[in-house]
Subunit: 308 residues, 4 copies
């Protein structure tokens, strides 16, 4: 296959303060579909995704991200990537199949920024509800709540993001799409990477405290659906951080908002794509405002200081 | 890299009846950017593409497609894919670097449907005009004519499309995203394949006559830009085949129209994406109308009978 | 008031072949809200309208329109307009208050094209469901079925449309916004008129048979909602006559479709507005295709021959 | 006519600090069409307007609005409205025809909030550039700069807005569409009124200082064009006050920005319409944030304190 190795974001496990309240929020306001429950874990997928789940909520004492998992091409790839990680000096741990519902064996490791990542080769394909034969293009599930199409990427905060970039590109096969630099013109503030041809599948922002999450992002179909998302956020009294606006980085049209545990999430549409032979774009400190919030052209205070 | 082997559509060489008239049409109505001229060849790129060119017009006595070229990851990949093709029984030919402007050596071969395909590893990246540092999201070039973002895919007509599918998936690393079947439920009318995660990079429709082109397709940003494209087609008196409408296959929002040589082209936005582990979608003969023209729910006569 | 006399379209009474089936269609597919039932009459409003009803379905043996009603400024205006009509030579009839639910006395008359029109000054304002204090901008009713904002206008077929135009402009205070002419350059094929500043509140197309309806039209918010309407029509297997496309006349973005009795209806968005001092636009026979279906640039057979 | 009396906003004369720079800004960034020059006055129209001009820039030492003019139905109406104003106790002044280019005699008066208003019955209709016969729906002028469709309304700051409301409704025939109230639940913070069926043609916000302008507003076609406007503002480094967002009042989708003299202007699309018999909507102090900036749900500091 031309698309091989690490194929796509597979799942994010997110900590929420009140699981029942959060199930209500993720089901009816964000509009994901609950596909499973297992003790203090609730499993969700976006309506147009095919895998059994992409978001797992865990009831916990503090918000944040437990881990982010990547679907790889197959079991041989999983084994090879584990060997590659080990050879690179990264310790890995095997989580047995079935530990997460409908999910095969996972290879878990911690990246330099302090985030826990996982690779896995198997998760049950349950389909998007439209069927595989003569599917319709519309679905009632597409309009229940904000109803994103898919969990798209995450942006994480932590130290040593150069080491992360090196690991993701040299071992895991990602390529860099865009980078933001600090005032010295040399220190990276942020790096955006993809394992396929998206604008990004993951991004890291430099931050002293390790293992933090800035946001988990969901794709919606259009700028008009971004407006609808904002209208629904107001209707349900969801706190909006910023938006609707555009990002300079990736060109995506976006809203940042907070779930009822304080985890920031993004609903976005559009934006660029990328190919591995393309030169990465660069953003300088002087234009950091436009890089992040393209129309406002300045950071809001929350961007650098509020994360979970 | 996770995206490797054949990476993306690289170029289509199209025959036009009057080169000067066509340069005018492709520049000012379709809104591509001319990047070169070489005898009876005129080179174009979509404004947001980075490579030197993606569409080459050749003045000729009859319309149609000369060949379709694919960008591969690097020279080692080019050499390996040529060996793979040869081992598979496909004869290849080397076209020297520089034969096409700003383009490296090409490996040319003919697929069972009678179409000429090419692989190449090098083409000059000239950028999208926005620069690589602090790029703006808008550009005057984005509004000159229809102004697609990129040449996206082609749909070709010819025999033996099962053999094409086998070749593209087994040798070139594509995966099948959707298939259409004839009334017997077994014979494929069409197959849609991608080398990355798009809804399709290429499609083949069964047809007695080999080597024919149904359309060359250009991506635009939104359904509102599809409307703008239709308005511009009326403004410039471009014959519209059908649209604006949606396709069932790929869910894309589309217009089919004809250039001034009778080559059908498509301007479309949206649609699905795919991953190699996903089961292909199937369309049956009973729903062929909805598969192709989702709102009309019937084929127009031109769909099967007009091609170049 | 600056907006006085005849203020807006008030109601259309439409004949349907199977009332229960039609109630289902108008409620769940078109997405109107049923507000009353009275024998063989079912009352509906669009979700964002404030009056008790704007569409009345009557179970009957053949499809078509019974009458179209206009809201006037107040009772004094109603009385004055009746006198003006009588002085002009038009016979009127009074229908007592309460004959239609929540509706005051109506003045009924027949116009030269054979259509029955009504004027009325009172209908209960029941609101749009968002309340009058701090209303939200979104509502679940806005997404139940196609969910138009309002019944907007009707296009009627009949003879003597010049006399209609004269009556509507000279007695009822409408102004002409656009006209279509036949091949002789003098005979009107159609006239479009408004009582306020819309692109049209009513239009008449020349036709031998009197009293016929071409379509009843509903306003939706955007071109993207036009796409959604088309997707829903396919989902519910509603026959589409033509669209999505644009009209040349009024510039509106539109779909023509048929209810389950064969009555054509339109869901449209956008388009022009008008002021009474503006010169009317003219469309000539040579451009009749573009006048009606702006992108197709030709009439389909149904446009002139299918009506109820 | 059903639409009579005061028909529509006719013109706003705005003070700018550097006329040549402002001509450049209004022509190429905002995208109005310059239609005349007369000493320190420059005349503009939006591309889709038909009158000779709707915006007049005057080079002056300080920013702000000189006057706002209203087109009335005809000369008899002009004379009658002057008598009505005088009888109501408002002093009027006649400005001779030709004082403003292509404009008839104007009746000028000052309203209680300290703003100068004008009525006029004649201004040359020069058309929208598409012609009156078989007009196209698209035009290059529609994409030069932000390119609004029309100057739509103004929002003014001053005292005694209750008296303004009384004058506009009782003498000039406007009707109130929405009102905002202060914390006491009785004092109006703002009143929104129309002379036709728009969401508003004019609005007044309570302010100690008389005669001030909050913004002059331009209509654009869609939420996607609002995004394009924001993108162009960033491209041309135009300061954005707030947006893209939605207003609660009128439901319009909007951006507030500043011209190069500090005059706030709005580019908006969508929003509600109104009829004179409808009950006005009310907004309470507790929801003032949502009333003004629907998604942010709070006022920014500039809203109440920055005006010209």
């Amino acid at each position: 296959m031309a698309l091989t190795g690490v194929i796509r974001p597979g799942h994010a496990q997110i900590r929420v303060l009140d699981l029942e309240e959060s199930i209500e929020f993720y089901s009816n306001v964000l509009g994901l579909i609950q596909t499973g429950r297992q003790g203090d874990l609730a499993y969700f997928k976006a309506w147009d995704e095919r895998d059994h789940h992409s978001v797992i909520l865990r009831g916990a004492g503090e918000a944040g991200i437990d881990f982010f998992g990547w679907r790889v091409a197959d079991t041989a790839t999983l084994n090879q990537l584990e060997r590659d990680l080990n050879n690179y000096g990264i310790t890995t741990e095997r989580i047995p199949a079935g530990d997460l519902l409908e999910t095969g064996e996972r290879v878990r490791f911690t990246v330099p920024s302090g985030h826990v990542m996982e690779l896995f080769a198997e998760k049950t394909e349950i389909g998007n509800g439209l069927g595989y034969v003569n599917p319709y293009a519309w679905n009632e599930a597409a309009e229940r709540g904000i109803a994103p199409i898919r969990m798209d990427h995450t942006l994480l905060y932590g130290p040593d993001i150069e080491l992360n970039e090196k690991l993701f590109t040299e071992v895991l096969g990602f390529h860099v799409t865009e980078r933001i630099f600090l005032a010295d013109g040399e220190t990276m503030l942020g790096t955006f990477m993809t394992c396929s041809m998206k604008g990004h599948d993951i991004a890291f922002i430099r931050n002293e405290e390790p293992g933090k999450m800035h946001h988990l992002s969901y794709l919606i179909e259009s700028w008009e659906k971004v407006l609808r998302a904002a209208d629904l956020m107001t209707y349900h009294n969801v706190p909006i951080d910023l938006g609707p606006t555009r990002h300079g980085v990736t060109r995506g049209m976006t809203i940042y908002a907070f779930d009822n545990s304080g985890n920031r999430f993004e609903t976005f549409s559009g934006g660029t794509y990328s190919y591995p032979d393309w030169k990465p774009l660069q953003w300088t400190w002087e234009e950091i405002g436009r890089a992040v919030f393209y129309h406002q052209r300045s950071l809001n205070e929350a961007f650098l200081n509020v994360y979970t």
